[in-house]
Amino acid sequence: MEATVPGHADTHAHGHPPSGLMRWVTTTNHKDIGTLYLWFSFAMFLVGGMMALTIRSELFQPGLQILEPERFNQMTTLHGLIMVFGAIMPAFVGFANWMIPMQIGASDMAFGRMNNWSFWLLPPAATLLVVSLFVPGGAAAAGWTLYAPLSVQQGMGMDMTIFAVHILGMSSIMGSINIITTILNLRAPGMTLMKMPLFVWTWLITAFLIIAVMPVLAGAVTMILTDRHFGTSFFNAAGGGDPVLFQHVFWFFGHPEVYIVVIPGFGVVSQVVSAFSRKPLFGYASMVYATASIAILSFFVWAHHMYTVGMPVGGQLFFMYATMLIAIPTGVKVFNWIATMWRGSLSFETPMLFSLGFIFLFTMGGFSGLVLAMAPVDVQMQDTYYVVAHFHYTMVAGALFSAFSATYYWLPKWTGHMYNETLGKVHFWLSLVFFNLTFFVQHFLGLAGMPRRIPDYALQFSEFNQISTIGAFGFGLSQLLFLYNVITCIRSGPKAPAKPWDGAEGLEWELPSPAPYHSWETQPTVK
């Protein structure tokens, strides 16, 4: 792809940001808002991480050590909600804000003020979730899935969680409207859909998924709210309602949500693997179609999360085979990433390492997903630590590793400075080792029958739990290296060229580093 780039002076055009706090409160600039999203996401990652370490501390040995069982359940619930809605989703919306306008040659997002609002809804929602720990009855303790009838019965912490989920959902929907509108309407001349970078494509598909399922989650929690306070009985069996209905509605949202979290990561990995293989991406069109296939299939597999509710065999078979079908487009993607590397001129800087870690570990998470997709096997594994291990391979080694890859890849463009490569590599290897130490052993715990969401366990599970807890603390501490590396990069890293990675392709690398506050005010022409 070639681009005719306007003169350097054009990209530096008018206006500097207002200074002080009000710059961040009132900003409509996509780069500012992207930065806000990314810092907010990292703060939530630390909060959710502290909750994870509290959970792992309790599970270091059998018996009750530091938490009451009620508090333990609140911790697992908030850890899940904060990591999914507060850390991972905002991280990728942050990348989208920073990169989509620069990658398609647009001057900004389509709706600047709505973009500002989308971000500033997040801090109040996060505050509601965290503060709910301190209200009478404590926070929601029904798990991040908020299953009825537990969620219909709990105290005011549940109301705060419902309100927080409404706000987070609104933020996601508005962010998605902005992303789709920007991509469909503001592309530079010549930037046809099939010339868009994979990160833009994956976000376009993800944004459609969000608009399709977030309102359903909002509907589900609204029904819980009316059951709690307004006399309805959607999920209350005593009033003629059906608690299993909640599971159907929740997982109609919940399974596509898994892909909402990971599909932008596919885009990041596609671009990073291509850049550090110094080759165009193998099978660009098939990548796009595979991503769209995964997104479409994700609407037809929700009940594989609820095989044990008493579903007819025909239903189990349908959801089992539909789930297994997803392995095909996912396999296409993994094949394409490997084929991109084949005979490439590979180098292994930190973004590439995290992307390779993603491919290897996410594929492992995919395989354990296939195991769980089989109804007769899942009946044995349901609600065991095998499930916990499986989804952490997709969420942590999948979404989080790709987020680290994206951060290291684009950090020079954002800050104008290079990060410390050695420190980045140490961060990767420590994360890789401690991640596996934490979660690989949980497969064995699950296979041996240890249930999830319990603060105490039988004595025979002790050793693996101790290994897992040591791994979790190692993983958590390793992330401080990342924070240190990012801060030193911003403050004093060596100056970065416009294109620090010689194999990188795309319009963002035509801009100077750091990217000017206003970029592409004169649109480039893509040939």
Partner: protein, 43 residues
């Protein structure tokens, strides 16, 4: 973003606003639809 001389009915700014409105309407319809669906299934 309106371009002088171009029909306001087909301006890029109008298309952008319409895309946003259409997507917002879809989201609202799905929200109401999911609650109505829940109501119908337990009625």
């Amino acid at each position: 973003m309106d371009i002088p001389g171009q029909s306001p009915n087909n301006s890029p700014a109008r298309r952008t606003r319409l895309t946003g409105l259409l997507l917002a309407s879809v989201a609202l319809a799905l929200f109401i639809g999911s609650i109505l669906g829940g109501w119908v299934s337990v009625k």
